[in-house]
Amino acid sequence: MTNAHGHATRALTGDPAASLGLMAGWRRRALTFGAVFTILAIVLVVLAEVMEHDKFLHLLTSWLMGAMLCWGFSLGGLALLMVQYCSGGKWGLLIRRPLEAMSRTLWVSALMFLPILIFMKKIYLWARYSNPTDVAQALERGLIDKAQAHALNWKHPMLSPASVWVQIVICFVIWFGYMFLMNRWSLQRDADPQPNVPFWQKRFENISGFGIVVYSLTLTALVIDLVMSTNITWFSTMYGLAYLVAQGYAVLALSVITVVSLSKAEPMKTILRTTEQHDLGKLMFAFVMLNIYLNFSQFLIIWSGNSPEEISWYLDRIRGHWGVIFTFDFIFHWLIPFSLLLSRDIKRNKRRIVMVGMWMVFARCWDMFLLIEPNFSPRNLHFSIGILEYIAVPGAMISFWVVAYIGQLGKRPLVQTNDPHLAEILEAEHAHA
């Protein structure tokens, strides 16, 4: 068979329902993991309360970690969806439906943020001392130092409970709007009996181009509010951008895991060619490099400047046992995926690239732990039951998020049939590709 360009083609044959069977299995597994982690989390929380009088601090901070990770997949999925519409290319067709499914789990992330917002006084200094009188009293009682008091008063217009609520609500309204339109138009494009390629292309480009700008700004605002502000005095202009890239790092890894795992059955079995899998592997490599580039640059500049306002953030992560976590973060986040993804064979091998993808998701979780917990236990990391909650709570949250994600993924055909790149992907692979 040949296509309009005279190229040999393959056809989408086989039973697409086979993918649903695969997904049902994953969903069951995720539910089981979720249940196990939930039981473990409950046990750990109770033990931490009884034995360590934790006052639910670790539950809330580990919940913050889980919420940020799940939100990262939801919003990052939406962002990468917009990026692939703007950049074009065949790889976009492969991961589009997984990205759409991720974006449709935004409501799960929104729900996960509720406990953080409700119990924000337990986590954030700015919520605990939300007016100058409280700040002055806390300073008098030695609960905060002068630098913290100054920062709390100075940043009050942005970092106060009411202001943060408003910011987060606005951000989610915007993201829900984009999510709704992107997903709706995608279905409409599928249903278009005579698809006008330039029209749909421009339509998605137009919404996505501006959407990426909006995403960058709103993401920066949210991560400053919820993560960076866990250390009230620290600041870094790179933070939002570094967070954005790290989010892309994890989302891309999850997309590759999904697509390659789905290629055991139709239709992914036909449309995932080794060439495009290799391209996705190269894109993962690019994200690995970009991620270390931003993080290392931030580290080098702050380390060289060595000013007390900034260096404390790194000292809190290097001193004592935190140094081990910090070193492993470098190894997990960069060295291992970098070394593995250099290999052409690994990028073209289905089983191995899935393993690398899983490793990258794990590395992102590790990194998130390093971003959050040292702000609550600076100077040294002490083993405690509370610390173990960082495994159980995010584990449970991510498992249930995966259940929602797989559920959304199964709701739509895995391939967008009206995308003109489909014809290219269905061409036989050339030896030089």
């Binding site: 960058s216 600041f235 202009t237 790179m238 939002g240 951008l241 003109p420």
Partner: protein, 473 residues
């Protein structure tokens, strides 16, 4: 422009992407080769070329005059004084290095991303990179005061026990820029070999045959040659890609590792890189538009190229805008008096005008690039490229000068005023750049013929029966 009126049957539109096609229809392998090689091999040099070379050469004379006076009198002829010890020389250095980035991005990163539209513009963008690096490299050399001792910048064993400071980003600059220049030249030259072979074969004069033959390194166009050529290109692209990031990152460290408010900020590395690509693409457009008009290359450097370059400029411009925004926001969020003052001074101080020029040129006006009409309008794109180049020069001016002239102690505050020698040297490098570029477009193929042929429909791999049918079997 999401409209239903976009036609799917327009021959200028790609049916896959809906974009304007990369090369206008109607070309064959032969026509592409003839059109490009004729510019180099013709015996009739256009009068306009001579005129342009003459004007550029005149400006080079200005540069030579400024440099001669500088060597006679020293850097005191410039506007440098306490507290602004870095002035035009560093501003120009960073600006020129940034200009060069587009060449490497187009030749390396866009190659790895399989962006075939780059094929029409990569050669002269690479040439632009090299000439920009020549202009950039000159400034640190003349800034050291005694350029004949410039080799002290390199770490070499010597009897004086003079050893550079390895912790200084200025030394990292030496390595970064020299590596960048080397890779850029090698990439440019290797990419040109197939075309040099074509010119050798088509040259009518013995001199042309000899020189192009010498430069073609025995290229025969065999399958083995092509295979090695492709492998070398990919390897060089892989090597050059980190360089796109590293060079301007290292340059950003020149400022960011210091603790001066306005310099010490972590966003500098990515924002410098984005800014470099931004200005580099602006310069590619500044050069491409007159060239395509003068040599009637509108069918090879099409509206699609302008459109895509406009999109790259818009994207990088927005990253730069994000950088400005974060700097400004963090100057408040930091709760640091010094940071806050540095930016207040940048916006509303005696030199605040330069900041607003920068914002107007780099952020406000380029927002017109959201419009497809602007991106595909030749005249407007040319104006836009000049605006962005101006804005990017002012960005470096703002960073260097407005951060230095009012630092921590009001008693040490001062001002900065460039002299005629500062302006003369900068304008002179513009002349040098243009002069070299004129020589390049006359004596070497400015558009890669071999890579352009790949874009033609005839070069697509066909299914065997179809190809046999076309061949008349």
């Amino acid at each position: 422009m999401a409209t239903r009126d976009l036609s799917t049957n327009d021959p200028m539109l790609d049916p896959i992407t809906g974009e304007v096609v990369v090369i206008a229809p109607g070309h064959s392998f032969k026509s592409v080769t003839e059109k490009i090689s004729r510019i180099v091999l013709t015996a009739h040099t256009p009068v306009g070329w001579f005129f342009g070379l003459l004007v550029a050469g005149g400006v080079v004379m200005l540069l030579l005059t400024c440099l001669t006076w500088l060597f006679l009198k020293g850097v005191g002829i410039w506007g440098l004084d306490i507290p602004v010890g870095w002035g035009f020389a560093i501003v120009n250095f960073v600006w020129w290095i940034g200009i060069g980035h587009a060449g490497t991005l187009i030749s390396a990163i866009l190659l790895l991303f399989k962006q075939t539209w780059r094929n029409s513009i990569n050669r002269f963008a690479e040439a632009m990179t090299i000439f920009a690096v020549v202009c950039a490299g000159m400034f640190p050399l003349i800034h050291v005061g005694r350029p004949w001792l410039g080799y002290w910048l390199f770490p070499y064993p010597n009897s004086m026990s003079v050893w550079p400071q390895f912790r200084s980003p200025l030394l990292w600059d030496v390595f970064a820029v020299s590596t960048y220049a080397t890779i850029s030249v090698v990439f440019w030259y290797i990419g040109m070999i197939p075309d040099l072979g074509t010119l050798r074969d088509r040259a009518k004069t013995p001199v042309g045959q000899y020189f192009f033959g010498l430069l073609a390194l025995g290229w025969r166009g065999s399958v083995r040659h092509w295979m090695r050529y492709e492998t070398a290109s990919l390897l060089l692209a892989g090597l050059a890609t980190p360089l796109v990031l590293s060079v301007h990152t290292v340059i950003s460290f020149d400022f960011a590792v210091a603790i001066i408010p306005g310099w010490h900020t972590t966003i500098f590395p990515p924002y410098f890189v984005a800014g470099a690509v931004y200005s580099g693409f602006a310069m590619v457009i500044t050069l491409a538009i007159p060239i395509r008009k003068f040599y009637h290359l509108e069918d090879l450097i099409t509206i699609r190229h302008l459109d895509n370059m406009g999109k790259v400029m818009l994207t990088t411009g927005l990253i730069v805008a994000y950088g400005y925004g974060m700097e400004l926001f963090m100057s408040w969020y930091s709760a640091s008096h010094w940071e806050y003052f540095a930016f207040w001074n940048r916006l509303f101080g005696p030199m605040g005008w330069s900041y607003w020029v920068l914002i107007t040129c780099n952020i406000a006006l380029p927002q017109f690039l959201w419009s497809r009409y602007v991106r595909t309008h030749v005249g407007l794109m040319f104006i836009m490229s000049i605006i962005v180049n101006t804005g990017m020069w002012f960005e470096r001016f703002v960073i260097v000068v407005t951060s230095l002239y009012r630092d921590y102690l009001p008693s040490s505050w001062g001002t900065y005023r460039a002299t005629r020698w500062d302006y003369g040297t900068f304008i002179g490098t513009l002349g040098l750049f243009t002069f070299l570029f004129f020589l390049f477009i006359r004596f070497l193929p400015m558009i890669p013929m071999s890579e352009l042929r790949v874009l033609l429909p005839q070069s697509k791999v066909k299914h065997l029966p179809e190809a046999a049918h076309e061949a008349g079997d």
